[in-house]
Symmetry: D2
Subunit: 280 residues, 4 copies
């Protein structure tokens, strides 16, 4: 089995830990292919390749959710991650357990947690897929825009709002949760549409089938912004039409514990701990 | 094609309209089988049978949502309904359009809208299916109970609350909507679990897959009540376990307009009109 | 200074601690007047009196929120409480700090936190005041009732719902919080009205002035229940009118730390800890 | 009585109606002082002055909420408004009733509805007052910021969110309503703090007393934006401190119907009508 290796490039601790991971894998006779973006910053004796062109069976990521989300833009291989971020909701092991994690990985003692991605189109042009969510937002703070949402060609609702989120089940516990989305079990194969600050009393989150196409029209002559996974931004011109649907492509996570609910409860506990540390 | 006919028994206008329906069907040579519960109260010359034993291809219901929900406890045949209720969210035509409705029915000009029902078990004993929702509620007003919810054997969440609702997509626009559930497109084949007045800041609605089993444990030594579709009540003893899952059996509605969203928007408009008439 | 003493009567630990409190106060030459409801269950050599007829300057309560709320029905004296309950949001010190608490009390090292109570009337007849909230609820689970709410004679809103809560600022962090009420700083001198499970998309919590009178009419021919502080119940007949306003009488709490926000954040932290212990 | 007159400058219908108003007032012998910003665009024979320097007893505004909010930045005189906007929540009469409105104004047949404004400070420097609300928002869409909120020096809560709103009771039915604020009766003399898209499960709206000072710290090294009444923008540097409190200055509205609830219900009805027209 060939492993790729990447890390958060601007975080010395992440790079140092990546070097340790590379060393351990080297000792075991399977030196990883190292992401060229960090290859110069760590000691290693493996091959070097850009993330998008790595020949590998699985990718090891040392970093937080942002690092994982960026990596998932470049690979469809299963990802195993060691958390170096503040929350690390997508990651699998905390830094102090990195060694056991790598051992389980080498021993094949894991499962693959496959998650639907979201396909996104602007005026007929395909954009990168999102793992968590696509956000459409007014570019002018506190100036609402008018959104018209259709599902499979049928008008679902329209509202004036700051924006809206189209999220995967994975994303239901991220940004979408902040604006009142339900938690969606990944096995439900459904997408969620949630308005952001709707000036409409009848606005509610909407859950649609995995094979439904969601179309969003921006009805006024103003710009808006599309943000995918908090990482990729696209300016949207007036009168644009956006299209979203659950993708055939998946994000694959290497897990030692697949149960969605255990993970979710752990996430909430972590979030509450952070809240408590911050004095509520 | 053989039609059954029932109506809201305690509403003279509903019975009068049912008699008109029976007369029109008689004229067309297809006198309906009349529900024995109303047979004495209307003029007709068809057969009489109890709802649960009717030989028919489709059932015509004159009444509101309650009448339909009760009828659906007794038949798995497609239901066509003429609204005589206040809101009539499940009904298909308003009373003034009953004649066109019957004509379309006779002409075969309709579609069948098939909806998942909810299967309910108390301590291993099967209960009637619900079309909208199952409500579990403390019997003592303003005394919370402790609920433990598992999905497919995995602990999902637990909370102190007045109760919880497990709803079908059909039910997502009914009682569940009152306590913050998302709207669920029926094609999403998902069930929703929503706490009622949870004394827990982390409580959120949960959407689960159609083949998931939801198990609810009541952890304290107090009674609770199970209410199915607002119609059927069961006392639940202390330490009972409830089980819910989407059923193989469906409720089937005869529709002239299948689009879920058009129906939903019409429902909201009707609800808002009622609100406005009542002075908001 | 003369102290009264009461405790949760059905909890041996609370009674044992009350006896220790009585002994300490006896040692200091100020034996407490003991609530006759617990006098037989604890060793002490002070006077005995019913709660409602105690000659005292302050009342010491050993128990949880329920014990305090019951005691506040009988006295307008300042209350100092040692928590023996699960959450104890109204209490001041945990059991392990009872001795320091009593010492500060004897030393006069405390402040009085004065809180508005809620005055309640049914059809012109005054009911006991509530410290937290008054709940009006349908007696039939999952059968909504129609509520009409007026503020100072002006129609505010009406809705179909399971019930409604009228809460004081103190109650804003209790049951009202479960159904979406805002947190209200006690210095804001305002009351909150919140619907419980409103079947109305435009329903929102409402904050009214401290000198406003809230009138609730129950418009259908069905019974309802009024519950004050989760303790006192009154059956409400059809077509009754309820009246609520912030009372001139106050509940007074002896505090070592008056800051509302510190208390609130501590409460939330405690609630989250309980949630976490229960596996989220 | 001397009247000032202004109108939405970029809307021909508003200017035309303003000219009619000027003509009627001229006929009655009380030609208005006309805002110099529109003086060139309408026929009239009164004096001309900038809004901020008008000698007048009351200001007549022809336009929508934006026009009124802008005018209220320049005058503390009572404002009477004829609605030419889409919603016109702050306005008093629809365009077709402008003549009766002016007659009642001339006849003194009105009341003054006095509303608290919000005082705003950035790092000790006073900003214009807001009638509705102050919004603090991250400048980077879908990148949360960390907010720390203190009330009268006591830490109230902190959270990661897109932003927060501090609103007056008048603003409680505007933008704040979109993010879950309660409706606040203006007589309650309270301010509301509501997070926008908080990534925190324990986040709730907070109601504080009219003499409380709310302090908001932005804890990370990123910019933010302050927007007052959707009109006035200020860039906020990293580590800035914002201060908000209800102002001594008030906005004064000329009303023919002072009842807050009638106005609110009318507003909701108008909002629902607009929603319905837009197909929900």
């Amino acid at each position: 089995m060939v492993f790729g290796l990447t890390a958060r490039p601007d975080m010395p601790e992440a790079l140092a830990l990546a070097a340790e991971v590379a060393a351990l894998l080297g000792e075991r006779g399977v030196p990883p292919v190292v992401d060229e973006a960090i290859a110069g910053a760590i000691d290693h004796n493996g091959d070097i390749a850009p993330l998008g062109a790595m020949e590998m069976d699985a990718l090891i990521v040392v970093g937080g959710d942002g690092t994982i989300l960026r990596a998932l833009q470049h690979t469809s291989r299963p990802v195993f991650s060691i958390n170096m971020g503040a929350l690390g909701f997508l990651t699998e092991v905390p830094p102090e357990e990195w060694r056991q994690g790598i051992e389980r990985l080498l021993g094949g003692d894991y499962v693959i947690d496959q998650r639907a991605k979201l396909e996104t189109w602007i005026d007929g042009e395909r954009q990168p897929d999102a793992v968590n969510e696509a956000v459409v937002h007014t570019t002018q703070i506190s100036k609402m825009r008018y959104f018209d949402v259709r599902v499979d060609g049928n008008r679902a609702f329209s509202f004036r709002a700051d924006g809206l989120i189209v999220a995967t089940p994975t994303g239901s516990t991220c940004y979408a949760m902040s604006v009142g989305a339900p938690i969606v079990d990944p096995r439900a194969h459904a997408a969620i549409i949630v308005p952001i600050a709707p000036f409409k009393l009848a606005a509610r989150p909407l859950v649609v089938a995995d094979d439904s196409t969601v179309e969003v029209k921006l009805l006024e002559d103003k710009d808006a912004l599309l943000v995918l996974d908090g990482q990729i931004k696209r300016q949207i011109g007036a009168d644009s039409t956006l299209r979203f649907l659950l993708s055939d492509r998946t994000a694959r996570f290497i897990r030692f514990d697949t149960d969605f609910y255990t993970r979710f409860r752990r996430k909430i506990a972590r979030l509450m701990t952070v809240e408590e540390e911050n004095g509520t």
